[in-house]
Symmetry: C2
């Protein structure tokens, strides 16, 4: 049985919190271990005691919340499928199971999740790490969703399905990034941080895209 001295776990968590916040804002190379540990209020060497290296700390930050996230989204998907025992669910319902848990947790506990989501957004668009890391942490869940979408779109070609998911992924992660770009563009009318607004629009937008690309050919007589 592992010992649990006074605040060991608490320290480890504080380091992860500080690292998450800084990595999300400036990326892996834009942050020093000293800045992280200063934010965590702990000695520099403790970073290397609890984690072996800066890179391993980075991975630990990513891994920490990935499990929770995947579980939430899987539960949402299974809930949808349970609601449709025989007929396939609508595209909107499937997409919503994919996006809603994320945007919802962001709308309800922004301080807890904002930084992590922004970090994922940055990684997804990084040529260096995007392919490998996103695959490592989210592939099983994504494949599960693609299965559901395939069933709901029986006429789809495989390539169209993958590219459609790709577009969805891009739209979703840019929303997570919360760069403030839409604030500038719309002169303050829209806000990057308004996850309710994104939540209300993304499933409809994306579902229409899926249908246009993977659905049965529109009969334009």
């Amino acid at each position: 049985m592992p010992r649990m001295p006074r605040n060991a776990k608490a320290t480890r968590e504080r380091i992860l919190d500080a690292a998450e916040k800084l990595f999300a804002k400036r990326g892996f190379d834009g942050v020093t271990v000293r800045q992280i540990m200063s934010g965590a209020g702990a000695d520099v060497a403790l970073a290397y005691y609890h984690f072996k290296s800066k890179r391993d700390l980075f991975d630990a930050v990513l891994l920490r919340r990935a499990k929770t996230l995947n579980e939430m989204r899987l539960a949402a998907l299974e809930e949808v499928e349970k609601r449709h025992p025989n007929d396939p669910p609508s595209i909107e319902e499937i997409i919503e199971a994919f996006t809603h848990p994320l945007l919802d947790v962001l709308a309800k506990e922004p301080d807890e999740w904002r930084d992590y989501m922004a970090l994922v957004a940055q990684i997804n668009n990084s040529p260096e790490w995007g392919g490998a890391l996103m695959t490592r942490y989210f592939d099983p869940l994504v494949k599960r969703f693609l299965d559901a979408l395939r069933r709901a779109l029986p006429d789809s070609r495989e390539e169209d399905l993958f590219w459609s998911y790709h577009f969805l992924s891009g739209a979703l992660t840019l929303t997570f990034a919360e760069t403030g770009r839409i604030d500038n563009l719309s002169d303050g009318l829209c806000k990057s941080s308004d996850m309710e607004a994104a939540n209300a629009r993304m499933p409809r937008f994306v579902a229409a895209g899926f249908r246009a690309l993977c659905g049965p050919p529109a009969d334009e007589a």
Copy 2:
């Protein structure tokens, strides 16, 4: 009249090329000036002679191709509008004028443009720089396109229009990033570098999204 010694311009351009390639792969902080100048085959100090600082070099990299890019896209849009003197163009045509020049130049001159596009993708999703830099370099053009879309979607609400563009921007830039994620996900069936494939699908996907979000309400009797 500025003097033009032997290969002054050539050196400046070689520095920009090397910087572009490295910044695209590892981001601003993941690259050292020494690595850049080693890639350019020139002395470190020359970076500070031709550009004042690392940050200014970064901006110069961004600026160099932005002009060309904006001109190409504006020309494509004006061509579409000239084709429709009275009636508004279709959403697909407008979106295509927005995306096709980029994906086309990527498909035809990949070595010249791939790194720059990947860099833009990374910046667009960076909380630190995304808002400010994308606004600085691409705002006038984007507003021009939003005008065209607004005319083609007379029933649209302003917020829906901005969010739809936001989703488009995310889908487009993730495509530029070429992270190899879709290669992994599809087990090699789709390739991140296949811009023809993205080109063939993106306008249809995105136009359907715009119509679903900004179009007239679907009459579901």
